[in-house]
Amino acid sequence: MPHYKSNIRILLVKKMVKPTWIARDQSACSGCRRCELACSMHHEGWMWPEASRVRIFMPFPGLEVVHLCSQCQDYPCVASCPVEALSTDPDTKAVIVDREKCISCGACIRACPGQVPFLHPGDNKATICDLCDGEPKCVEVCTEAGYNALTLTDEGSNIHRKLYSRHPVEVAKDLAVKLFGEKGEEVIE
């Protein structure tokens, strides 16, 4: 077989993963937490909400907030890691944690504007969404249920992503006023 032909075959077979970003519409989150179940099923092999990379906060009932990595363009978490345990995937642009290197110091948590990463309840290592290699399971189940709180976009990276990395209680306080008017200012301390 001529060499160039086999090269072409390899080129066609290589998976083209477009950069993906998970857009989030907080008002549309139902609070069902199937994203937590689907994520932990995929990464942990069973339903483990507290090990899910996407986390649903509910500071007051009716105010459910989706909390997950926004892949900030400047990756402050990666920059802050003292042992270079964090890196980025060249295809999906997701943050990748090397669990061998991670020393559970929490620097990435503090560096993140929304405090998104957390230490795993099992091995205590930094845990961050890896976008499931381009086919996020959370989006799959959210779409299936018709909420459209999490949707995949293939927009190019931009500096706006970092704005979505917000503390979930702050998001909930905003949602509270939007949903409940003045009363909303009283329902979260």
């Binding site: 008002s27 549309a28 139902s30 609070g31 069902c32 937490r33 199937r34 179940l37 932990s40 099923m41 942990e44 092999g45 069973w46 339903m47 483990w48 909400p49 507290e50 090990a51 986390r55 649903i56 906060f57 509910m58 500071p59 007051f60 009932p61 009716g62 909390h67 929490g106 948590i109 405090q115 998104v116 990463p117 957390f118 230490l119 309840p121 205590n124 189940v141 299936e144 249920a145 018709g146 909420y147 503390h167 979930p168 949903l179 409940f180 008017g181 003045e182 009363k183 009283e186 329902v187 979260i188 301390e189």
Partner: protein, 623 residues
């Protein structure tokens, strides 16, 4: 060895001593009683069964139980079952509520908690991966449910973060709590959760209040319990949701479409204490709630995609700031039409008020409606109540709800629940009990849910309530003693939501139960064995009653007198519940379950179901 689906441990809390211990159930017990309602009934029999007749339900020795089941959180629609000896019926009610607490207890490593004794000062109970602890609740006692929830969310999240900082953000815990009604031991008060949910039937709010227990809080970081067949469970989980997502009616309308439908279609809605059951008041239909009050339309409980709940908020007017659910049909009826209120905004307000005060949204308003009928008939006067209690007067019912929650004035009498209030009022007024009881709408003390039997067009009929061990509980109706075993009895023991049980096929649900636990469970085995085992044990305990109230076999296995009065209006005017059918079908029900013609479980049945140790206590009820 722990079967699949179970965390494997329970917490045992002695509130008198302040001690917390752990215990486990043998494999066989779990296989026989499953969880939730089943396991709670078993605990009650084991611990206080032999002294049941003599033990007052508000005695510290009565255990208050919070029970999950192997399917909780894994099957769509997580719920918890609250139980104990019911201060209302003196039987056992498996009173369930949708709450994240159910999942948090399990991820913390426990299947449930039993509380005995009484704390000398207000406390709340916190469950984490480290176990359970009692914490001071002095600053929470007296707060309404909404404020209690707001404070607990902050306080416990802060505390957890303090104990284990630097691991990232702590999510809020799961919580269940009582409001002023429970604190003041209003007999039919609820145990509340998630702002607008409640374990309503059974009056366990008063049991919790009697123990000075303000709340149960949990935050776990473990996975849901492992299952027996993980691959099958995963596939069934995805398949179950297809059924739930396609339940478009519930998704779009919530359960609140019945406020119009139960009145106009099936003529089975409580109106002015059940004096009527038909109406055609169009403003009680969905659009008037949806367009003005629903700020969130797809609202879920844990692992649920049916989303029958919606968030309602009143943004203007005297009730500005009220936040609640749809409201669910039961509260659209009981906090609306039952008061003669047909305005959606007033209805949303009264539902919110029940949530905040910690009243059961069904049982409390039943008693309040009862008082209003007595006022209408001149049995209770303006002087007795303190003001005019006219049908449709929202402010008046608002006031009455407060009085009942705080046991003020006539509220102290009403706080005993409809049945006991009727007896007390008869005594107060020098009347014969029948004269006040004829207007009381309850079965075995449990106030009846908002589905009448006279039109025969709703899902409730002749013996639905009359034969039930849970009395007026509309979620646990009797059909034939066979197919009803695999419905409410199963869901209440699972513990999971009966609305998410309506999308997928029953076969799928039972296959799922088997995949989770590894038990050789089928629809048939549940109908012939496990269900009857639980219900027969509940029946035995119900028969034994309590020092204040005991129900007479056959005589009290009946509908209230009102259900035999002809409907005064609507397309089914003139109809009554068919008495002959009640008598015939109740005999068939008893026979199917292996009880005698008076509803007493036979020795053979007790032996067959592994309940032989109950036999000595049943002898005296047989003829």
């Amino acid at each position: 060895m722990t079967p699949g689906g179970y965390a494997g441990k329970w917490l045992d809390v002695d509130l008198t001593k302040g001690s917390v211990e752990e215990f486990s159930f043998p494999y066989k017990t779990l296989e026989q009683f499953f969880g939730g309602r089943g396991i709670a009934t078993k605990i009650l029999w084991d611990r206080i069964g032999r002294k049941w007749s003599e033990l007052d339900a508000l005695d510290p020795e009565n255990p208050l139980i919070f029970a999950t089941g192997p399917m909780t959180g894994i099957y769509p629609g997580a719920r918890i079952c609250v139980s104990g000896k019911s201060p209302v019926s003196n039987g056992v009610v498996g009173s369930t509520a949708a709450t994240e607490l159910a999942v948090e207890i399990r991820t913390a490593g426990y299947d449930g908690v039993v509380f005995t004794g009484k704390s000398d000062k207000p406390v709340y109970f916190l469950v984490t991966d480290k176990g359970g602890e009692l914490r001071d609740a002095g600053h929470l006692w007296g707060l309404d449910c909404e404020k209690t929830l707001i404070k607990l969310n902050k306080e416990v999240t802060d505390e957890l973060r303090k104990r284990k900082p630097n691991i990232g953000l702590w999510k809020e815990p799961g919580t269940m709590y009582i409001g002023p009604a429970g604190e003041n031991m209003v007999r039919n008060a609820a145990v509340c959760t998630k702002m607008c949910h409640a374990a309503g039937y059974g009056g366990y709010g008063s049991l919790m209040g009697s123990k000075n227990l303000k709340a149960v809080v949990a935050k776990g970081r473990g996975s849901l319990p492992k299952v027996d067949a993980p691959e099958a469970s995963y596939l069934l989980w995805r398949k179950a949701h297809e059924g739930c997502i396609n339940n478009t009616m519930f998704r779009r309308w919530g359960t609140g479409h019945l406020a119009y439908g139960a009145g106009a279609d099936t003529s089975s809605e409580p109106i002015r204490n059940w004096q009527e059951e038909w109406h055609d008041q169009k403003q009680t239909g969905v659009p008037h709630y949806m367009d003005r009050f629903w700020v969130k339309v797809k609202w879920a409980d844990f692992n649920c995609t049916t989303n029958c709940m919606k968030v309602s908020c009143i943004k203007t007017g005297p009730w500005k700031g009220d936040i609640t659910d749809v409201p669910d049909y039961e509260l659209q009826a009981y906090c609306g039409t039952n008061f003669g209120i047909f305005d959606p905004e007033d209805n949303v307000h009264m539902a919110t008020l029940m949530d905040k005060l910690g009243h059961s949204g069904i049982n409390g308003p039943n008693t309040m409606g009862y008082a209003a009928e007595l006022y209408q008939r001149g049995i209770l006067t303006e002087e007795d109540i303190g003001f005019k209690l006219e049908w449709g007067d929202t402010k008046a019912f608002d006031k009455l709800a407060h009085m009942m929650a705080y046991r003020e004035g006539i509220g102290d009498v009403l706080a005993e629940g409809t049945y006991r209030a009727a007896l007390k009022i008869a005594e107060m007024k020098g009347l014969k009990p029948e004269e006040t009881l004829r207007y009381a709408i309850h079965v075995k003390g449990i106030e009846i849910g908002a589905h009448g039997t006279r039109s025969d067009k709703d899902y409730t009929h002749d013996i639905s309530y009359a034969a039930s061990v849970q009395g007026g509980d509309h979620t646990s109706n009797v059909t034939d003693g066979y197919s009803d075993m695999s419905d409410a009895v199963f869901q209440d023991s699972g513990v999971f939501c009966m609305f998410t049980a309506r999308g997928p096929s029953q076969k799928l649900i039972f296959d799922f139960a088997k995949a989770i636990t590894g038990f050789p469970i089928t629809i048939e085995s549940w109908r012939r064995e496990t269900g009857p085992r639980i219900v027969t044990l509940q029946k035995a305990l119900l028969l034994m009653g309590g020092p204040d109230v005991t129900w007479a076999p056959i005589k009290d296995d009946d509908n209230p007198p009102r259900f035999y009065e002809p409907l005064p209006s609507g397309p089914y005017k003139g109809q009554v519940t068919d008495r002959e059918r009640v008598d015939i079908r109740i005999q068939a029900y008893f026979e199917t379950l292996g009880w005698d013609e008076r509803g007493i479980p036979t020795k053979e049945t007790l032996d067959r179901l592994g309940l032989s140790d109950v036999e000595p206590l049943m002898k005296k009820y047989r003829r």
